[in-house]
Amino acid sequence: MPRRFASRNDNYTFIMNRIQEKIKEDKKLLSIYFTAGYPKIDDTVSIIQNLEQSGVDMIEIGLPFSDPLADGPTIQASSTQALKNGMTTELLFEQLKNIRQSVRIPLVLMGYFNPIFQYGVDAFCQTCQDIGIDGLIIPDLPIDVYEEQYKATFENYGLINVFLITPQTSDERIRHIDSISKGFIYMVSSASVTGSQSGFGEAQRRYFKRISDMQLKTPQIVGFGISNNETFTQATQHAKGAIIGSAFIKHISKKGINTISDFIKLILN
């Protein structure tokens, strides 16, 4: 059976998609999350281009959902506003249609399962491949359901599924997640929803060390609780990179999207 992994705009394959290329680079990675359709409905492409030009290594594009269970107030509010602005799955795909003409860094879509399920998982994955999306993060798609029902589809369209681990995840489960992960593991820094932490304490340092000592084959990128240079540096001491979401959304809601590079400079300085 011919594999459909070659995407239209480049020669990367599933065996080595943009995420896998990126994690081979000898540097700590900065990934930024934003909610599509926020602050303005048409900001999506500008935000992505701005982020790449500012030196960001990877972007998570949030597909807004009415009931984002794992998110704190900042991302909830941005999702509600994005939906009010009229964001839909189809519109987001339309906005991203030509994104690979201007953007080279890995792009990951992050969304809750219901809108993807309604779109049709196969159709969703196919459109992602056509656009040049590299991976998906679907927090409420359980691992067993993914493995039994959707793994083949994701792989068929060259998409990497990113799994989460938390301080409460058992070693055994982490080993399993490591064995089925192809890109990176999304390491949730603490028992919390997004945007609820400021700074890392002793418990987190022990957790970072514990995971580091497990010597997993899959690199980890830390998310939740990273908002500035200090927390970025702490998070990436053991891990390959870090993800900033709520702090970035707060920045663009206050300062607008034209000052994105100022925000990124402060993180990476």
Binding site: F65, S66, D67, P68, L69, A70, G72, P73, Q76, A77, T80, L83, T88, T89, E90, Y112, F113, N114, P115, I116, F117, Q118, Y119, P139, D140, L141, P142, V145, F163, L164, I165, T166, Q168, T169, S170, R173, V188, A191, S192, V193, S196
Partner: protein
Amino acid sequence: MNYNINTRGYYGEFGGAYIPEMLYPNVEELRQNYLKVMDEPEFQKEFNQLLKDYVGRPSPLYFAKRLSEKYNTKIYLKREDLNHTGAHKINNTIGQILMAKRLGKHRIIAETGAGQHGVATATVCALMGLECIVYMGEIDIARQAPNVARMKMLGAKVIPALSGSRTLKDATNEAIRDWINNPIDTHYIIGSVVGPHPYPDMVARFQSIISKEIQWQLQEHEQTSQPDYIIACVGGGSNAAGAYYHFLEDTDVKLIAVEAAGLGVNSGESAATSVLGREGIIHGSKTLLMQTKDGQITEPYSISAGLDYPGVGPMHSHLYKTGRAEFMSVTDDQAMTAGLELCQLEGIIPAIESAHALAVLEQKSFQPNAIIVLSLSGRGDKDLETYINHFKL
């Protein structure tokens, strides 16, 4: 055909545990332990003792003579309205608080819409001396002031849900977020047969006392343990699940589930999930769900705050899909009229939720010798203001 849950946590294609990894340890701990704990003789003993002495069970199975004459059939009312705190909700909260204690949890969270489940949770927390936090939509807090006051008197902390539509589904989201933030010491008492596995099954088992009693009570009245029909209202579906439970596999017993049509099924202001919903994922469960074409969860409407949930428990989705239960819908007006009728024929003021089940008697005709058991899930005290406004009393 199997109508109960399978070992993987599904009713047919519905159910499962669609939860973020952050919730996995909590839900998994519960999944691994709930059946074991419920089977312990000590647990059973304490549960049954509290149901008897504290809740006041068994609740009567009352032959409603004048109502039966009017509809020319035999109607029995299962009087869950006579339970302590005024509804069937307490059966579940008693069970779950005992479960929480055995799992070593000392902090209890819950969601509530109209406030009935919140009151039932605050009640058992006071009984056990456990900390209680109830999430309630900001809009519901404003329109259900007496229940907010009850919860506070019982020592609970009521936290307004300010996100989304600020009603029941958002209160549920907030409770889930709280559980994510407090994964070690906290138990989440879900109020209906919804949420990730094992909640739908655990809550159905705690509520199954309703159908267990119906069996022996009907035997006393009619020399048979099998009614011809069981009628119950369905929001999330916990009183219906309890009333159906021991009859699920007995297909001689016809099950009727009554949803709230609000202003009319096609009015845009409705909560009739089986008609208006499609398969989707809400609060960790794959089930029928009211949503936009794009998969955003929509806000239902019913005059009854206990029925306006955009989803329905996965058991009920399965009963609908397989045709095991007949689903009917009843408008605000029909329910209110049926509620007032019960007051005047039987001297019982029903909760508006239960009044939806009563309205079926007007819509559907039954044979004169048919035995009908109707779950009178709650009393109408909490709904007085709605009755007053509706009938200009």
